[in-house]
């Protein structure tokens, strides 16, 4: 057997080498070089094409998120609504942020922003329309009335204000009429307020800063810590009854400052007014009871500035 293998090996080793073996190998190396170059070029093209596609996509997504006008235009195109919905980053129906400014001051000022999206039906409203902001104290709050806007985002998905230090609560009020919506934002302390409206889509931007620096520099302007007396209804669920009480206070009692507040249990109350002393409040209550057209029972509640009203059972 070994001899046979040896014979085979002899035959194997005796295979004559073709004269053009060198040429074949050289040509193969040349073909290899070309293949490597082509592969690199191909990879380069693919990378460039992918980069270009990614860049265009990035610009498109950024434009949709930054420019509401562009987003509206895209939405008009067939299938545009789906595209906009897919690529638009929606953090919440209302966005909030806070930051500290003036770190060199002894009174470091806290600034917080709240953005409220406005809707007309299910669609984002294009413009905020006419709106009024009424500042209130005890507690520090603003009441925003929006004309021509049927809903605001917080009605369906209230923003989480738990991490905010200056914003305390946001809640909707019973509308005064069919074309006006109202909501209240309460603050944890006295604030310096700035607000503005932004179109396409309609947004209210509310910026607040704490007022501690002004208070510290001018103690005379500091909020009163004395108690006061609120003439109010008992706590009622959100609905017509509390809205009706507020309207009656304005119409029948001539109380221009009548308002609706939310108490510490989440129920609502209509407040006729605030009085510096108990005697003043009792006198006003007695006067109200004389008005036969006003059928709501009122209570006197003692509060201090900035405190949330307590729940009073009917």
């Amino acid at each position: 057997m070994s001899n046979s293998i040896d014979e085979l090996k002899t035959a194997y080793d005796s295979v004559p080498m073709p004269e053009n073996l060198n040429v074949i190998v050289s040509n193969a190396i040349k073909r290899g070089k070309i293949a490597v170059r082509n592969r690199r070029t191909k990879i380069g093209y693919v990378i460039k094409a992918l980069s270009a596609i990614a860049a265009v996509f990035l610009v498109f997504v950024t434009a949709l998120n930054v420019s509401p006008a562009f987003a509206n235009t895209v939405e008009q195109l067939p299938g545009g609504k789906i595209i906009v919905k897919l690529v638009t980053v929606v953090v919440d129906t209302a966005t909030i942020d806070s930051k500290r400014i003036g770190v060199q001051d002894a009174w470091e000022t806290l600034q917080e922003n709240l953005t409220v999206d406005l809707y007309q039906g299910d669609e984002a409203a294009a413009t905020a329309g006419h709106f009024t902001v009424t500042k209130r104290t005890h507690p520090y709050s603003i009441e925003v009335s929006l004309a021509g806007v049927r809903a605001f985002s917080a009605a369906n998905a209230l923003p989480d204000l738990s991490k905010m230090r200056l914003f305390d609560d946001i809640y909707r009020l019973i509308p005064l009429d069919d074309s006006t919506d109202r909501f209240v934002i309460t603050f944890t302390e006295r604030v310096v307020l700035q607000y503005s409206a932004q179109p396409n889509p309609a947004r209210l931007i509310i910026k607040v800063k704490d007022d501690r620096k002004a208070t510290a520099l001018s103690p005379a302007t500091a909020p009163s810590t004395f108690p006061f007396y609120s003439l109010r209804t008992s706590s009622l669920p959100f609905g017509e009854e509390v809205g009706g009480a507020e309207s009656m206070m304005r119409v029948e009692l001539g109380s221009e400052n009548a308002r609706i507040l939310r108490d510490d249990s989440g129920l609502y109350l209509a407040e006729e007014g605030l009085y510096a002393t108990l005697a003043e409040a009792e006198a006003r209550l007695a006067a109200v009871k004389q008005n036969a057209n006003f059928t709501y029972e009122l209570h006197i509640e003692k509060r201090i500035s900035g405190a949330t009203p307590r729940m009073i059972s009917p």
Partner: protein
């Protein structure tokens, strides 16, 4: 320059270094290819294709010391593919292939044994070529065939048995 240094240079794109490497082993590649396809032109095709593939994929070779093993593996795979492709073509066309041109005129005395190699399957043939013709150790053959050494031994045992049987039939 050492072979491993040449491989490093070639991996960095030095075609001349790759040419040097090929000069050292192109004849071995041709012999291996020839022993599968048994045809000068086909063997040259196999070598050309293998060299091209080796150049293109040289960067994937992690250990330069295994360049020879790696190259032989490419040549064997290419040769086996070539043989299989030729068989498919022959079957499809239903045409008998022309008798293989025998360049091994110097090995006439071994022609029967050479033909006896035809009865071996590809794995058995590979083991015989690498073990007895190229004098490679079983571990390296196992690397080339990407099989365990035990399996290679089994192939070898089967090949020797088949050859003995075949030789018995051919040589009374």
């Amino acid at each position: 320059m050492k072979a491993s240094e040449l491989v490093h240079s070639a991996q960095r794109g030095d075609a001349e270094a790759f040419g040097e490497l090929m000069k050292a082993c192109q004849e071995k590649c041709y012999r291996i290819a020839y022993s599968y396809v048994k045809n000068r032109e086909d063997a040259l095709d196999v070598v050309g294709e293998s060299v091209c593939k080796a150049y293109v994929n040289l960067r994937t070779l992690k250990n330069p010391e295994y360049f020879n093993t790696w190259l032989i593996r490419i040549v064997i795979n290419e040769a086996v593919n070539h043989v299989n492709k030729s068989r498919r073509v022959a079957r499809t066309a239903s045409v008998n292939r022309a008798p293989v041109q025998q360049d091994v005129t110097q090995a006439i005395e071994a022609i029967d044994l050479h033909e006896a190699m035809h009865c071996l399957n590809q794995n058995q043939k590979t083991v015989i070529i690498l073990k007895y013709f190229e004098d490679l150790p079983l571990t390296q053959i196992a690397d080339i065939m990407q099989r365990p050494v035990g399996t290679v031994k089994t192939y070898l045992h089967g090949a020797l048995q088949a050859l003995r049987l075949e030789v018995k039939e051919v040589i009374p």
